[in-house]
């Protein structure tokens, strides 16, 4: 029974990953990437990695794939019925990737892997992973959390409008008074939202005056 499920998983992963790569419709690619990622999570279950299977579903399927679908939707005209993705260099790409795959599979089949005999399923991996993250791998864990924070702030800054970015940069250099003045100067550029902001700030200033 387990073997049948495993073979089914392998077939599903292989076909859906192929469809991710060759499908002319970008939304079809994204949906079959979803199937591939779920299949890989199932593969982790067969490899006794329960925590990683859950992580894969939560982060890849729930996070990264949603980001990718956002990317597909934000960068195409919605009125087109089919969101297309052209392919070029098909022959060169097939040659190179086929070459890589054949070399890798020859190596994998010919090598005698030092497989241990007694690799049965142990207790849940969650406790051990927690001990490793907060013990042996504490420093890399903290470093990667800082990296993730920096990447997310950078992404938020990159995806904004240019005027907003300049404003943020100015606020690092100048004090609040000057930003207030520059906002008044830029009033003509941005319409409603900026005015609403302005009003809020005016109210704040008035409130401070009253307090003072």
């Amino acid at each position: 029974m387990g073997e049948i499920i495993f073979l089914g998983l392998v077939v599903i992963i292989a076909t859906s990953a192929t469809w991710v790569v060759v499908s002319p419709n970008l939304v079809h690619s994204a949906v079959s990437l979803l199937v591939t990622l779920f299949g890989v999570a199932g593969l982790y279950v067969f490899l006794y990695a329960d925590f990683l299977a859950a992580t894969q579903v939560v982060i890849y399927v729930g996070g990264i794939l949603v980001l990718i679908i956002f990317g597909v939707m934000l960068t195409n005209k919605i009125d087109k019925p089919v969101i297309e993705s052209d392919s070029s260099n098909k022959i060169i790409g097939a040659l190179i990737s086929g070459f890589i795959f054949s070399i890798l599979s020859i190596i994998i089949i010919q090598t005698k892997w030092p497989v241990l005999a007694n690799n049965t399923e142990g207790p849940s991996t969650v406790e051990l992973i927690g001990r490793l993250i907060l013990g042996k791998y504490l420093l890399p864990f903290e470093l990667i959390s800082i990296l993730l924070l920096a990447a997310l702030i950078g992404a938020a800054l990159l995806a904004r409008k240019k005027a907003v970015i300049e404003e943020v940069l100015e606020s690092g250099i100048e004090n609040n008074e000057e930003i207030h003045n520059s906002e008044e100067n830029d009033k003509n550029d941005d319409e409603d939202s900026n005015e609403a902001l302005e009003e809020n700030e005016d109210k704040k200033v008035e409130g401070e005056d009253v307090d003072g």
Partner: protein
């Protein structure tokens, strides 16, 4: 199922499909999907080697896989921000159109 080689073969298939996507696709989001496939194949390798070639209480491969997943999340966020900026500047996400350094 209890054979290391089938996992390695599957992950090398995913790897070469991802490389094919990176080489042949023109849409930047499709290239990003190819990169995700490559990262997933590396993860399968980490976990498979951890299960078959280490003793029961050593889960270092899992930690590496978690780090790879975090890196993939950071990379996807930054890459999508860049792609959206590219779309704002040149009006398409075809990587062949992005041929100028100055936007």
């Amino acid at each position: 199922m209890d054979n290391l080689q089938i996992y390695l073969l599957l992950s090398s298939l995913l790897f070469s499909l991802g490389i094919y996507a990176v080489i042949s696709r023109q849409n930047a989001v499709a290239i990003l999907m190819g990169i995700e496939l490559v990262l997933n194949s590396a993860n399968i390798n980490f976990i498979a080697f951890n299960r078959f070639t280490s003793t029961l209480n050593h889960l270092d491969g899992h930690i590496f896989a978690i780090f790879v997943i975090v890196l993939a999340a950071a990379e996807a966020a930054v890459a999508l921000a860049i792609i959206i900026n590219l779309f704002k500047n040149i009006g398409s996400v075809n990587v062949d159109d992005a041929s100028e350094l100055k936007g």
